[in-house]
């Protein structure tokens, strides 16, 4: 890399680079520096370094500022400046304004969380208040079980302690044989099993 002293243009502009980055030059000076930067790679790199350092510095300061509690900053300053307290509404407005300006992330996050909680809570309330139609009884109860006439199976109902009902289909080979012997037509009429020997039985009967 060539020494800056070798380049008279760079020698002239080098002291202006930092003020250029900080925005302290006049428009004419700024234009001259920009033209120089377009032609001089070394100066352009130096400006890039200045900007990176400046960005890093700003980030560090912002992080430090975030760690500070600015909540009552304005109120405290105003309290020192004015012997009388500002009206409540004014103080609240200032606090909110500060919160939104300096703690925007946390403020927006809190608002979003609150909105979500309200939405979820409201939905849960609505769902809870919607009752299921048809479920007035505490437990289910079997009414009847039928099988098609000619079926070679018979239903057996078992009711459990937990209130469930289980319908097993048990083979009835004898019935099949009888049907074949009598050559009965297999009609569509249902065979009501309530009350007959093959009627649903309780678990204890099984």
């Amino acid at each position: 890399m060539s020494n800056s002293n070798d380049n008279p243009a760079r020698k002239k502009f080098e002291p202006m680079l930092s003020p250029f980055v900080d925005g302290e030059l006049t428009p004419e000076e700024r234009q001259q520096v920009e033209q120089h930067l377009a032609a001089n790679k070394e100066s352009a790199m130096q400006v890039a370094d200045f900007r990176a350092a400046s960005g890093l510095m700003r980030l560090t300061l912002e992080q430090q500022a975030d760690q500070e509690d600015w909540k009552d900053f304005s109120n405290e300053v105003l309290a020192k400046l004015t012997p009388e307290k500002a009206p409540l509404f004014e103080r609240l407005k200032t606090s909110l304004s500060e919160m939104f300006t300096y703690q925007r992330g946390a403020f927006v996050g809190a608002m979003v969380t609150a909105a979500l909680m309200v939405t979820v809570g409201g939905a849960a309330f609505l769902m809870g208040s919607q009752k299921n139609t048809g479920y007035a009884n505490e437990r289910m109860q079997m009414q009847s079980v039928k099988v098609d006439q000619g079926a070679t199976v018979a239903p057996v109902v078992m009711e459990t302690d937990s209130g469930d009902a289980i319908i097993w289909m048990v083979d009835q080979p004898e019935k099949q044989k009888d049907d074949e012997k009598n050559d009965k037509p297999k009609g569509e009429e249902n065979e009501e099993l309530d009350g007959d020997p093959a009627a649903p039985k309780k678990a204890g009967d099984l």
């Binding site: 139609t133 009884n137 437990r139 009414q143 937990s162 319908i167 678990a203």
Partner: protein, 129 residues
Amino acid sequence: MLSAVPALADDAKVAVQVEVVLASLTGNTIDPPTLKAMQDAMAKKVKYGSLKRQSLEKLELQAAPRALKLPNGVEAQLSLDALKDDVATLKVKVPPADAKYTLGKKGSLYVQAGKLGADDLWLVVSPVK
């Protein structure tokens, strides 16, 4: 002959949860684990080693039968038979059986729905969660 069947409004409907479960005497897989309740319920009669859910649907039943095709080709039909004083009576037809029962907050109806290979197929009608 006229029977004292409670009138059923056209828009009357009742929601139930319907599962089709494949039960095997062999194996030891309960999938999903909630089917452990079914295994326990049936333990007095038969000890199924494996229970696997084939499907799960929430159905809104009305007077018109709702058909449900099972994996073994059997077509089950579910319908709302009556709705009186907020007590629903459902009709569950799994050929050749035809069952009628009143719904309750507790209790599932298990209906054996034939075979699928060597395993048993069950239709389980439960209250909606």
